[in-house]
């Protein structure tokens, strides 16, 4: 039996097929995209597959933001510091050319060896990191550059100094900054999309997710510790809250899934980067033609309907 999400997608497909051109956006691309998503949806991921995504999303060889930057962007120029206190290395910001066009990039950055991991604080940003991100967003808006964000964090850093510097407020304001932008914005979850620390830089016109990335309200271990009172039940917790890409697509949280090479992005970073680039360019193409105000309005509308209520 087709799932509810499948029915929704089918409905959208049939609607789109019958529609005339919409403000110059390329409908044929949209059709193909939906058909592609529909094919992916046919197979509901099992508990095993969900856990495999959790493992792959955290794989130590999985490409991180800078691995993609060097493969996708030309002439990347990194921007440092929040202009207030510090340069948080858990978030990378900069300018670069994507297919010949200048974009602003914001992404979480993890480290591969112990030294690098410490420097990057395991991809867990302080408020300074989110303030640096907001500075980059403001720059994008000022100069009309599209914004691309890459999301890969276990979560915002839970520490005394982070709280004192206003972690909650920084995450809230970073989302608000993204909601205000009128330039095209594309976010892609490339590894772990951990809770508030992830969504802080993931409020975009188009949100993509790599095939084996995860996006969740809490880590499987954290959820297990609270609800099962045993962090060892992480596998059960993950199966219960379904952080995998297929479920996120089904719930309408993301707009599309970016395929990975067979076996995961780490098996072939070059191909993974190629697929990611195609995904980002495809998403940009869909939103480029919109009027800036229209883009912002549609972005807000998209988020305003997220969630599921009981039928009255």
């Amino acid at each position: 039996m087709p799932s509810e999400a499948e029915m929704r997608l089918r409905e959208r497909l049939s609607k789109l097929a019958g529609m005339k051109l919409l403000r110059g956006t390329k409908l044929s691309g949209e059709l193909e995209r939906l058909q592609d998503q529909l094919d992916r949806l046919q197979a509901e991921p099992s508990e095993e597959e969900i856990w495999r995504s959790v493992e792959l999303a955290r794989h130590q060889d999985r490409p991180y933001t800078l691995d993609y930057v060097e493969r996708i962007l030309d002439d990347f120029f990194e921007l440092h510091g929040d202009r207030g206190r510090a340069d948080d290395r858990a978030i990378v910001t900069g300018l670069g050319k994507l297919a010949g066009r200048t974009i602003v990039l914001v992404g979480h950055q993890k480290g591969r060896d112990l030294k690098e991991r410490t420097k990057r604080n395991f991809g867990m940003a302080y408020p300074e990191g989110y303030r640096k991100a907001m500075r980059a967003m403001a720059l994008a808006e000022r100069h009309g550059f599209p914004l691309v964000t890459l999301v890969d964090t276990p979560g915002a850093y839970p520490g005394v100094a982070a709280e004192q510097h206003g972690q909650g407020g920084a995450i809230a304001r970073s989302q608000a900054a993204m909601v205000r932008l009128s330039v095209p914005t594309v976010a892609c979850v490339i590894g772990e999309g951990g809770s508030g620390g992830a969504v802080a830089i993931a409020v975009a016109d188009r949100v993509l997710m790599q095939e084996h990335a995860i996006y969740s309200v809490i880590s499987p271990e954290g959820c297990a510790a609270i609800l099962w009172r045993d962090a060892g039940e992480a596998r059960k917790a993950a199966a219960a809250f379904k952080p995998d890409a297929a479920h996120c697509l089904e719930l309408g949280v993301i707009d599309a899934i970016v395929p990975e090479p067979k076996g995961g992005a780490h098996t072939d970073p070059d191909s993974a980067a190629k697929l990611l680039e195609e995904g980002i360019l495809g998403a940009l193409e869909q939103i480029d033609a919109l009027e800036p105000d229209e883009r912002r309005r549609l972005r807000r509308e998209k988020y305003r309907v997220m969630g599921v209520l009981a039928p009255a």
Partner: protein, 284 residues
């Protein structure tokens, strides 16, 4: 801080025969600050503030509205909204069962109550959270009701007063709970674009996703004395970082010192403070 033992009556005789497994949690009406105990009606009269030491007890949404709104002025909106169970979530018990139980225990449809009211004659919208409904967690209903309260404030041309008390996003709704953060943020942006204002009052505790979204985005942000307002709770911070936490970790007083709130307002002054702000934000 006063010693918890000071001025206590010795009741050891009465408790001698108590079972060994005496509940660790004290009675909800026993003050954790000074150990004084009150009848429920006594506490209700003092706005649930301990007359001895000033400790602020938690206040439910309905009672908070009674404390703030002019008598008879509150008209609830969107009371009929209820959570669905989009994931078919089942931990030790089904989410649907937890929801039903919370509704029976609290008499509320979810962890937030919204509506229009006047405060000392000034019109506004109120959006008040209730910690006793599943820890004040934010799922689709809390996000939706808050967002609609923003719309309603904007349509009515009055400010929105938000009183938060929340443990964060509701895990049982998975990623959709996380999406309530940007959803409420979008609603506030729309409210601000229409010229509307948001006053955010943080009460104990306001943590996680609620702090990381609408509670932090008030034009004016106030907190009650002693309220915990941290993104990560003290236990999580202590466990992950093994740092020694300062005594006032994440409390309103610490947040005030670091510049994250505009003022700490004792409960007795909250109503006059809000009406003052409502007058200040009125169009000239």
């Amino acid at each position: 801080m006063s010693s918890p033992d000071s001025g206590r009556v010795d009741v050891s005789v009465e408790t001698k025969r108590a079972p060994d497994t005496a509940p660790e949690k004290s009675h909800p009406n026993t003050c954790p600050g000074c150990g004084s105990h009150y009848r429920d009606d006594e506490l209700a009269q003092t706005l649930r503030v301990c007359p001895q030491c000033g400790h602020h007890f938690p206040v439910g949404a309905r009672e908070r509205i009674e404390q703030l709104a002019d008598p008879g002025s509150f008209a609830e909106e969107d009371a009929e909204l209820r959570s669905a169970d989009p994931l078919g979530f089942f931990d030790l018990r089904p989410y649907a069962e937890r929801l039903a139980e919370a509704e029976i225990a609290t008499g509320l449809g979810d962890a937030i109550v919204c509506g229009s009211a006047t405060v000392e004659g000034e019109g506004c919208r109120l959006s008040v959270m209730d910690f006793s409904f599943m820890g004040g967690s934010m799922g689709s209903v809390v996000g939706e009701k808050f967002a609609r309260a923003c719309d309603s404030a904007s349509e009515g041309g009055v400010p929105l007063v938000s009183v938060s008390a929340s443990g964060g996003a509701r895990m049982q709704e998975g990623i959709l709970a996380l999406m309530q953060l940007p959803k409420t943020v979008c609603a506030i942006e729309e409210l601000h674009d229409s010229g509307g204002a948001l006053f955010s009052v943080l009460t104990h505790p306001t943590t996680g996703g609620v702090l990381a979204s609408f509670a932090s985005l008030g034009d004016v942000v106030l907190a009650e004395p002693g309220a915990l307002m941290s993104f990560a709770g003290p236990r999580v911070v202590a466990q992950t970082t093994r740092e020694k936490l300062p005594d006032d970790f994440g409390l309103a007083e610490s947040n005030y010192r670091f510049g994250h709130v505009d003022g700490i307002v004792p409960r007795a002054e909250l109503r006059p403070t809000i009406s003052r702000l409502l007058r200040l934000f009125k169009e000239n």
